[in-house]
Structures are given as C-alpha cells and as structure tokens.
Subunit: 275 residues, 2 copies
DNA sequence: AAATAGCACTGATGCAGGTCAATTTTATAA
DNA sequence: TTATAAAATTGACCTGCATCAGTGCTATTT
C-alpha cells in the first residue's frame, strides 16, 4: 500500500517500500520560481497568482529509479507534476496483465485518473531519478474556484490527456507496427524539442519491453523494428541511445499522426526551460 | 463546417448540412426536471443549485440518425449531454483513417476533448434519433466556480473519461479478438442495466464495421465472433438484436476487465431513470 | 576485474486475424 | 409491393506479428 501521503505538513514519502526511512518536507518549492511554470499547471497566472498557487505545493517528492509514486487502488489525494526525470504509468487488467499507458516527462501532470473514484487507477513508476511536485487535490479545487486561469488550465490539461489517449487508441487500433514505432519516436522527438532538448538525439528511458507494452507490440518486434529503421537509415540505435537521422521519413511513416495533439498551449509551446 | 452553435439565445442547430432550415430554441429544458439528473453532471446538487445549473442549458438539440453534432476541427464552445439516443465519436488520422473512439449513451457528457484546443478533436454522430443538452463551456466554468459540487462533478466526469480511455487502450493493446468483443458486450450490458434497461437484451446501434473499428478489428472478424459466440451459447444474435444467454461466460472471457471503470458515481449507480 | 543478471538481438516457425470474394439478409426508397 | 442499396455472413487464402529459442550485449555488484 505504498503511496505518497501528502495530507499534512509532516508529509513523508514512501517509495515502493524501500525508502520508508527517508521522510522529507520542502516548502521552498514554489511555482513563481519554478523553471517549469510555462509548461505546467500555472501557465498564464500573474505573479501574485503564482505566489498563491505556490501555497498548494505542500511538498515535493524525490523518487529513485524504479520507485513507485502511487499504486493502483491506493487512495487518491493529490495530482503530481513532474519537475525532473520521467515516469511511466501502467494500467492493470484484473487477470494481472499490465500495460504501459503513458510515458510522462518534465512539466506533465499525472494522477488525473484518480479523481473519479478517489482511488488511483494506475501505477506510476519513476524511470530514472525523478522529482515531483505534490498538489493536494482538494486544495487545487478550492484554489481553482478563485483563480479562473488556474481552473481553465486544469480543464485544458485534463482535456489534453483525453486527446492524447484518443491518439493512442488510434495508434493501437489502426496502425501497423512500424507506424506505431515511428509515431512513438516522432512524438518523443517533439516533446524533447518542446522542453529545450535535442529533438534528434536522446536516451530512451524505457526498455524494449516497456515500449512494446505501450505500443501493443512484443519486445522482439520493437527490437527488430529498431534494427530495420537503422538499416533504412532513419535512425541510429546504440542500446537506448537514439539518434534520429531522417525525421521526415519517420513522420511520413507515422502518417503525420501525432501521438500528442500538436495544438494548444500544453503541447506546442517551444521554449527553453533553462532561463 | 457544420456544428452546433450555442453562443446566443437564437441558437440554431445545424445537422450535417441537411437540417440548416430547422432552427430551434427550447428553454424548458432544466436539470431539476430532467430524468437523467442522477446520472448527469448535476448529481448531488441541491434543488436550488439544480435550478441555477439549469440556467446554463441554453438550449437542446435534436439530431436525426446519422446527423453530426460536431466535427473535428470546428470551434469548441460547449459540452453536450445525451438526453435520449446515442452517438459515436470518431477520431481521425491525418491520412484519413477514421476510428470509433466512443459509444455514448443517455446521461453521458461528450465534447471534453475540445476544451484543450478550443477545437473539437473528433466527430460526433448520432446513431439514432437523439436529443442533446447544450452546455456552453464558459458558462459551465463560471458556474463551477460558484458550485463546488458542480465543479467536482465535472472533474470526476473528465477523470472518468480518462479511465475509460485507459481501459480501451488496455483492450486494444493486450486483448485477443474474442476477449475484446466479450468485454464490449459485458460493458454494454452493464451500461444498459445502469440505465434501467434490460442487461440481457438490447439492440446494437452500431454496424459490424463500427464495432470493429472501436475494437481494433475488421467487420468480418466481428461477424465471425458473433456467430461463434452464438454457437457456444453465449449469446443469441439476430442482426443487431442481441440476447445474452451466458453473461458469466462473457465476463470470464473478458478477463473480468471492465471497459468502463466499475466504481465511482458515474458508473455503478444502478437505478431506474423512469421515476 | 570478474561474476551475475537483466536486457537486447536475431533466426525459425506458427497462427490469429486480415484480405479478398461471393452470397444472403436486412434496411430504405420508390 | 418491388427495386435498390447497405449490411452481414461465410469461405478460402495470406501475412504480419507473436512465439519460442538461442546468443550476445551491457550494466551492476562484489
């Protein structure tokens, strides 16, 4: 039942059972000084609003690679924004099958699927050392009632998640294996670009198996496709290090279909977070 | 560019181009007298709050079978609640491929994916003669700031849509054809049951092709599976009329995996809407 | 530096579901 | 009612990806 409990000031973070002895409390985390604020929930807030928004950041959490932020079935209390690092979320079938439902990086909000039942609907696991802002949801709702911009941003982010999911459904339901992988790579490229990183060279945070799970393929198929893409000069692969050498060909393969919607302020803002 | 324009009191409904000459305006549609209020956005509102909520129902729309409520790419102005009938939503790839992303019935809210970009992300088409409540989104946000229950309901509904999408992703990504169809049938059965209809006998509103599109299968496969399920005494099929004869076997086939989350007030409320 | 485990690659083979095609049934229109 | 189109069924065949299996990497750990 490990999850991140953010109900009071002496909040303690439990990883997946191993770090129960590393409590922490940091109140210096505030939106108005966060480099991610142009990509995160408080987009467009005035400075004084930013300060108020900061009050809902009760704490932030540090997760080491492999640690779990929350687990399906545990109580939902807060939304989480990724400050550094990345996580995967996985959905579980009742027969135990597990599937990667999302790969979340810096500036993205996770935990939205827990609002409905007050219980998390998936597992969230750090894919590398990761830092998270914790936003208690009741506070967020209260604040959203007072700050229309914040309210609207929350709605936009939830709506964006729905659009993203629809794109994944399209991918899983009607694309062939090579189209899926091409779409995945183009999407990663775009998202790194949006965050000020190279759009052509990056390191995958997921294993072949996790990528396969996300794309509805087996790891062998993913591996074979990476090899074929390399043969065809679309990419260069060295384990998890990817260098894209022909992004146009990848885009063509992917049917120009974006895994994430390409419009809207949470998607196409192309900026450097390092100011 | 046909879509439902709900920006003022003299709102006119355009179907898919054919009904431009049938404007309408109905102000008698109010939440406090609606039979769907226990399943729809205003769940849990007090009577006086219900009356206020009714003010955001600018109008409602009637669609004949096949008519389009909104089209991907057209401006988003409102959310829509299904009062009678049903609709499908379809997402489009840039290469023209189209896939059914949702089947929506009475009491459900659609259009949520448009909030993000202020533009509809999918097509919504009536599968039968259908009636819709129009809720201008700016009004809804304003009212949500004043009525915490309404605000929370909206968040729950959006969250529920995210959970539903995750279930579909799981279905598309890791279930075999027969599991998909079984899951689909069990889900329909549950949803009809929740709405006070028979859980064992109903008429499909979608063609084999549309069902296949939703489930990531070809119509021939859907047709063959219906035949096999009938051979195996799980169902009786007569065109689009379905009679479920062994729901337990179907549930087992589906891995007890629900297409829609089975918890939360928007899903498991089992009641009769006909009071 | 060596040992060990997790991850990745690649070949051989099989099969679930797609594709193509022909027929029947069911809707819709005249 | 008949005519016509749309939807559904069923069979024969094919293929893209899964499965199974063996080997080679590349990280940790000691």
């Amino acid at each position: 039942m490990s999850h991140l409990n953010a109900s009071n000031d002496t909040t303690t973070c439990y990883g997946d059972g191993t770090c129960a002895d590393s409590p922490f409390l940091q109140r210096d985390v505030q939106c108005n000084i966060c480099g991610m604020r142009r990509l995160c929930l408080p987009v467009g807030l005035t400075n004084s609003e930013l300060v108020r928004a900061g009050t809902l950041l009760d704490t932030h959490a540090k997760l080491r690679k492999g640690e779990m932020l929350y687990r399906a079935g545990t109580p939902f209390t807060a939304l989480y924004a990724v400050r550094f690092g990345s996580l995967k979320t996985t959905v579980l079938a009742e027969d135990g099958r597990e599937q990667v439902a999302g790969y979340h990086m810096l500036g993205e909000l996770i935990g939205l699927d827990g609002i409905c039942t007050k219980t998390h609907g998936c597992n969230a696991v750090a894919l590398e050392d990761t830092e998270i802002c914790v936003m208690p949801f009741d506070m967020l709702e209260r604040l959203a009632r007072e700050l229309p911009t914040l309210q609207h941003n929350l709605h936009q982010i939830m709506s964006n998640e729905i659009m993203r999911d629809h794109s994944v459904m399209l991918l899983l339901g009607s694309m062939r294996a090579e189209e899926r992988l091409a779409t995945f790579l183009v999407n990663l490229s775009d998202r790194y670009w949006q965050r000020g990183y190279s759009s052509t060279e990056f390191v995958l945070r997921m294993t072949r198996e996790e990528i396969g799970s996300y794309l509805g393929l087996k790891l062998e198929t993913v591996s074979r496709l990476f090899s074929r893409f390399q043969e065809d000069q679309l990419i260069h692969v060295q384990g998890r290090a990817i260098k894209i050498t022909n992004i146009d060909a990848l885009r063509t393969l992917s049917g120009h279909q974006q895994l994430t919607a390409s419009r809207g302020k949470y998607n196409n803002s192309h900026f450097s977070p390092h100011e």
